[in-house]
Symmetry: C2
Subunit: 334 residues, 2 copies
Amino acid sequence: MAKNRQIVLRERPTGMIDDRCFEVIEEPVPEPGPGQALVRIQYVSLDPAMRGWLDDRDSYLPPVGIGEVMRSGGLGEVVVSNDPAVPVGSTVNGLVGWQDYALIGGEGGRATVLPEGIDPIDALSVYGATALTAYFGVLDVARPETGETVVVSGAAGATGSVAGQIARIKGCRVVGVAGTEDKCRWVTDELGFDACVNYKSEDVAARLDETCPNGIDVYFDNVGGEILDLVLDRINLRARIALCGAISIYNATELPPGPSNYFKLVTCRARMEGFLLFDYVDRFAEGVLALAGWVAEGLVKHRVEVVEGLEQAPTAINRLFTGENSGKLVVKVA
Amino acid sequence: MAKNRQIVLRERPTGMIDDRCFEVIEEPVPEPGPGQALVRIQYVSLDPAMRGWLDDRDSYLPPVGIGEVMRSGGLGEVVVSNDPAVPVGSTVNGLVGWQDYALIGGEGGRATVLPEGIDPIDALSVYGATALTAYFGVLDVARPETGETVVVSGAAGATGSVAGQIARIKGCRVVGVAGTEDKCRWVTDELGFDACVNYKSEDVAARLDETCPNGIDVYFDNVGGEILDLVLDRINLRARIALCGAISIYNATELPPGPSNYFKLVTCRARMEGFLLFDYVDRFAEGVLALAGWVAEGLVKHRVEVVEGLEQAPTAINRLFTGENSGKLVVKVA
């Protein structure tokens, strides 16, 4: 009889995720109830926000409970279905969790059927949550205008890389911030950013001055910390800071100080605004359509890193925080 | 021959303004040139933002130069005029500076003629810059809706007291934060705030929990510092933080850490936005009219503290930072 491997939370991490946090268990493959479907998972997604779901505090989603399967986006094939809208053989995308099989519909997770002809990896990357986050964050929150200077941190990440390319499409000067020479080169040479600052090896303040001679109109922030402060010190009148993430603090055991230069928001009549993809569910189709057009025209490029094996997920997710990965990080389950 | 006493900047303050910063000099009363008018100053205004004008850094206005008359709002009577739009005997309001006489028009300062029948003190207080700042900050930036919870820091100050009353008019639950029992009592008993937290004698976190049981939808911030952080930790979905000032840091010699909890802006999809009254010049008439209506209905009350004598200005301005004053602080010059 087929088994369902599940990676369940055993202990909440303090700082980085380690061996004590998760355990692989085996359960029987569940039977779909009325209106439900059973999905054999092919890929699960690893995203920085997942680290926040492990902390025991109120947030936009409840924390993953001890003993529960780790929550994650992912995608798989429907193998049994009691829901005519989700036929056997279709590929679905949703919050499937770190496991081999998931139930969707009814009391199971929510998922959407992928249109035919879309590569599963593309569905998780350039048409997935990270790319849509970039799409709505740039166009709805940051709203850059032609000729403006846009800075993107985490520029080689799945979200930042797309955010910067969208700002380029909108006619902006785009400066990335990333953590290796390789990432910086990819961002400028392949993705077409105007410049990229290596925050690990360069003087970020001096390089921002150099690469943003007219100041900064928009900051798409994935990182927080010191870079946010350095950007605030260089913003222009009516600047917009779209707060997407703060990967520099997700593993902090104590909350570090906030941006000292936040008062620049007053002198520049500027705005700092947070957003979450969940609020744009009704507009996902619009976003995917726009991204698909840009991908077809070669205006949005992306990179995917595939890790083999479900059991690698708890180790691989740390690559997001150490800066080892670039582009979208996924785990191949089956 | 009449003399013009002027208070000029001698040395930039480090921390609080002290005796070394300003000097009183006497100059001849200036002659108005073509298109100019000479104003005998009756009152000058003391405002927290003036402290920022003394620091040697780029901001929304150039710093007051060493040897220059201290910039300030104020009001006086036109005594000589070469501008038919500004007749002798009219009262004008503008950036007149700390002195007995000012030139307006041409290369002099900008000023507007006060409509007849308005008390000069009212023109500087409840219809003045601080009240207009509250008006536009609340209605244009914070945009509170009926039933929302609004917190106002510096609640007994010239701006905060009006901001809170406008939020009350809009049907909000309004909680002030102030620094003495007297101020708190004035804010609740006279101005009609629902509650007021004494940040010097009370546990602010506990009192915010108690007075804002449904969380905080809007924060009108005059203060910055720790209170901003405590408020951020209690904001609701789609909260708006209107950054008006940060009086707690104006005299700091080094920029203190920013708000650690700024990431709540992401989880709550909230916005923190700075604003300046200067941007609303075109709508001053609208603001004054609205305020006048509310004053007439008894819905907006105010308090003015008058210090006698121009030479008192450099000492009196510190009352804003020590928390000694409440309401609008002005200096009677003549």
